[in-house]
Symmetry: C2
């Protein structure tokens, strides 16, 4: 049984309608949206990452799932392993607290457990949000819907690459990798119109494929349209290779929404200041991903994103 | 910062009323009761334990927290690390599924994450219950309340001791250690009258001390009154040493309730078949635990239970 089998098995267990077939970012129980994301040392964060940024990130990745469902943060339960390094734990909690305060997320419970020394840390959070009027799943997209993206792509992956080359690297790309910002306001605004929505955590192409599979359709993506931030362009340029890197890098915490043609969220929605919403393609009858830029169509890369990050 | 400091810090962060000061087994958000418990390999279960029993136990320990608040199981989110042993993972999920089905707990979401091979497994669950008419905390006990215990003490600790001596040991005590039964029906019944209630997971004396600290009082416990099951007595006898072992062993998942004098839950409540409710002592004005048996008062043992198991 590999990870894919485990997830298939979990889906067979999770038959309650609130589970949404485990094909969504979150469960919907009454008017509450529930999500749980865990992060492990050596997989989702580097042992050398500042612990306060790890705490921030744990909260942010969970809030990003709430954002993708248009929900407002309410409460969270924290699960943390204690490996005997009190200084690390304290700084980690600084980051958790800062993110909870920033986004009005009340920490209401959880669990601390001792683990053997040198065991990789496993940090988990269950975040609970209040649903808005609509809670788009991944499954509601229809051929003809326009794909909109809130936020930018590639910054975090470029920041991680800088850190992998030099663990003392600093700068705006490293900041995005370490302190992602959940797009809660944009999520609430887009949820009112989106037929389908999800957050882009494992790479745009992989996550778009998941949205297509859940919705039973395909997608065309215009690589030239992908929103790249200035620091990304300064580091990596904006040619085809740079754009494919951005489209597969992961850890973006952008939002991908399928919105009926004719609604332009960049003008018709009241979006938070500084949030850019970009038209990047559309859903199609034909299954699969079709990529193109000004030079013509592009074969989908072998790795669309980070498969190994679980549900 | 040691584990106690971490918990103190978490309490300072968790100021929302739903958190109940993190001094309770669970949070109360509207009419939902929320709890998260994680278990780690080598700490809460043995690497040699059958994986289906580990899955069962993870569900049961979370349901025991719901039972202690008189809540009915609704839904759960599962967090599991995948260390590359698919056979283990499959059997673990068998146990999760069996327990979820047994107690009508819907698995609605969660997360699977890869961890490095040989990293100790960390398995977590957030369980969500529907509150009953009353949701007793640990903090409502008053001097004069009678302490009642639902379930038996010591079986699980005796089973663990058998396994530590011979990892192939079998029998009813090993069964209790591996497959605890959450006392959901008893919890619902007792919650209607209890001023304070909690589950006994880390040892009766330690957990009773926690209830006393939260309630601002002390307790007298009659060691002779502690309910011991026949398999426990057959294995360990029922002298003072055996009773102190049972009172400090942990992993019981019994329920401890402080109920106003004059209400006898063993006659006035409609309890599930086979559930025994026993009067074991009372709350006092004088702080601290006072233990006694027919031979007189007993000094409290140095170790009241398992401190290291976290919140």
């Amino acid at each position: 049984m590999n990870e894919r089998d485990v997830i298939a098995r979990l889906r067979r267990i999770a038959t309650h309608e609130a589970a949404r077939g485990l094909a969504d970012d979150a469960a919907l129980l009454g008017d509450l949206v529930l999500t749980h994301d865990s992060i492990a040392e050596g997989i989702h964060f580097l042992p050398t990452d500042p612990p306060d940024s790890v705490g921030w990130k744990l909260v942010a990745v969970n809030l990003s799932d709430l954002a993708a469902k248009g929900a407002a943060p309410v409460a969270a339960l924290l699960s943390m392993t204690l490996a005997g390094d009190g200084k690390w734990d304290e700084a980690f909690l600084d980051g958790v607290e800062a993110a909870c305060e920033s986004y009005a997320l009340a920490l209401v419970g959880g669990d601390t457990i001792a683990v053997p020394k040198r065991a990789p840390r496993v940090l988990g959070m269950t975040a609970i949000g209040r649903a808005g009027e609509r809670t788009p799943s991944r499954a509601g997209g229809r051929p003809g819907d326009v794909l909109w993206l809130a936020g930018f792509l590639g910054d975090s992956a470029a920041g991680l690459a800088l850190l992998q080359a030099d663990r003392k690297a600093v700068g705006p790309l490293v900041d995005v990798y370490r302190r992602p910002v959940p797009l809660l306001g944009a999520g609430r605004a887009l949820a009112a119109f989106a037929n389908a929505m999800m957050d882009v955590s494992d790479g745009l192409l992989l996550d778009c494929q998941r949205l297509c599979e859940a919705s039973g359709c395909g997608a065309e993506i215009d690589l030239d349209a992908l929103p790249l931030a200035r620091p990304f362009i300064a580091e990596r340029g904006q040619n085809r290779a740079a754009r494919l890197f951005a489209a597969t890098g992961g850890d973006d915490y952008a939002l991908l929404a399928a919105i009926p043609d004719g609604i332009d969220p960049s003008v018709s929605l009241s979006l938070p200041d500084g949030i850019r919403v970009t038209r990047i393609g559309r859903l199609t009858e034909v299954e699969g991903l079709a990529l193109a830029d000004a030079d013509g169509s592009i074969a989908a890369p072998e790795h669309l994103g980070h498969e190994h990050r679980g549900l």
